[in-house]
């Protein structure tokens, strides 16, 4: 690939160990057809991925899924990753987890645990999770702190829980979180299917934002709160993944290497598999990882936009899903000629309109999508 600058290092490796999950969150980032994809890399194949990514410069490692704790070899992966020098993060729902296993992870060298919650009340949490999980999650969060881990609590925000932002942050404080991630729902896959029921209203955000900022101030130095306004309401796109193939590398359960976990939805791109290629080739040379690097691929208005180095034209997956062409500007940008699709989505996501039922992320619904 003469003429192309050598890429940055994949500092962040996200290992999606499995699509198995006891929860059914209707905004899950897993593909709609996850039930079709049953192949999982074995322990040795994962260790090879970890070694190769570390050699390329990966430093942060996230064990994710699905629910990564359903993998019985997680202790082995943690121990080996820690020996390689990774900072190891476990991203879990806490469901199915027991104190003894949290201690085993600690003994293996796990650095940090992120526990996800769906809401601040048992009723809403368990409705969204599709299972009674709230009480157990609280017990697990307390256990994580008791065993001396730094803890991130992650709440995915959407219309059903945005009004409870104060209760959410009070709960996080009570559970002893060091960091709280108020993650905005990203409308791909399952969340896009459920967008009319999940997109918060402008009024909700106008109420939530000052509360989030007040809590950031209140807990300064004690509990760090990450909060961003959803990109649908921002007028400018997010710098998605800090740029395509720039610092993030995701490995799906079957070994497919992706620049982000949604990229599989893009057409005309073949993503390489770690069982067929070295990670070095995948990161530095594979056509898929080169595809949206730099700005050669951009169309107007991005190509001549003074902000293109800041947001890289936004998210390729969002551009494709909402405009049909992944090389278009992310339509959340007010300069995009397709921005009216976002305006329409905001108008459509009106709580006063008759509401459809949420479609939960489970194998049954996934199989329905696979038939389409």
């Amino acid at each position: 690939m003469a003429g192309l600058p050598s890429p940055n290092k994949p500092l962040w490796l996200l290992a999606e160990l499995t699509y198995a999950c006891p929860l059914q969150c209707p905004y899950c980032s897993n593909p709609l057809d996850f039930a079709q994809q049953k192949t999982e890399l074995d322990t040795e194949a994962w260790l090879k991925v970890l070694r190769e990514a570390r050699a390329l410069g990966a430093t942060q490692l996230g064990f994710s899924g699905g629910e990564p704790t359903t993998r019985p070899d997680l202790e082995i992966l943690i121990a080996e990753a820690r020996k390689m020098g990774y900072y190891t993060n476990l991203i879990t729902s806490g469901v199915g987890l027991k104190p003894e296993r949290i201690a085993a992870f600690k003994a293996a060298g796990l650095d940090h645990i992120q526990v996800s919650f769906q809401a601040s009340s048992a009723e809403l949490n368990d409705y969204l999770a599709g299972t009674a999980a709230f009480e157990h999650k609280q017990a697990i969060a307390r256990e994580v702190k008791k065993q001396g881990y730094p803890m991130v609590l992650c709440f995915v925000l959407h219309r059903q829980n945005t009004d409870n932002i104060a209760e959410i942050l009070d709960l996080a404080e009570e559970l002893g979180a060091d960091y709280v991630e108020l993650a905005t729902t990203q409308y791909y896959g399952w969340a896009l299917v459920n967008r009319d029921q999940l997109l918060p209203t402008r009024e909700q955000l106008q109420r939530a934002e000052p509360i989030a900022h007040a809590y950031q101030e209140k807990f300064k130095g004690k509990m760090k709160i990450y909060y961003v306004v959803p990109d649908y309401y921002e007028g400018r796109p997010k710098a998605c993944m800090n740029g395509w193939g720039n610092i993030f590398l995701t490995i799906a359960p079957d070994g497919t290497a992706l620049p982000c976990h949604s990229a599989r939805e893009l057409p005309n791109l073949t993503f390489p598999n770690v069982q067929e290629h070295s990670l070095k080739w995948i990161w530095e040379e594979s056509p898929a990882f080169q595809h949206f690097r730099g700005d050669e691929w951009m169309k107007e208005p991005c190509r001549t936009c003074p902000e293109k180095a800041k947001d890289f034209g936004g998210c390729r997956c969002q551009a494709y899903l909402l405009t049909g062409d992944a090389t278009n500007a992310d339509p959340v940008c007010s300069l995009s000629p397709h921005h009216e699709t976002i305006v329409a989505a905001i108008n459509q996501a009106n709580p006063d309109l008759p509401s459809k039922a949420l479609i939960f992320r489970n194998p049954k619904n996934s199989k329905q999508f696979s038939k389409i």
Binding site: A55, G57, T59, G85, D111, P150
Partner: protein
């Protein structure tokens, strides 16, 4: 603020290590990383030595970098920032 008799250490909330691929020291924390420039990395390298006082740290750094005339003010300026960011812990 910072007393030279205080014991200094890297805060337990962070992990400090050399990154070969990046050719720099980094501070690692949940889902994040701070890439350190040369002087910050050198100062924190000495902070990572157990049971060390600020006074010993200053001495070691002065010995390591004899060409820097007034290392004390530079080190103190960095330690103030590092303390404010929670990267280091100071104890009596």
């Amino acid at each position: 603020m910072i007393d030279i008799n205080q014991k200094i250490s890297i805060s337990p909330a962070y992990r400090f290590q050399w990154e070969e691929a990046q050719q720099c020291y980094v501070l690692l924390y949940p889902e994040g990383m701070i890439q350190l420039n040369f002087s910050a990395g050198e100062i924190l390298k000495y902070c990572a030595i157990p049971e060390q006082s600020v006074a010993t740290l200053l001495q070691s750094l002065q010995q390591a970098f004899p060409e820097i005339v007034d290392i004390r003010s530079d080190v103190f300026a960095f330690l103030e920032v590092a303390h404010k960011n929670g990267w280091i812990t100071l104890t009596e």
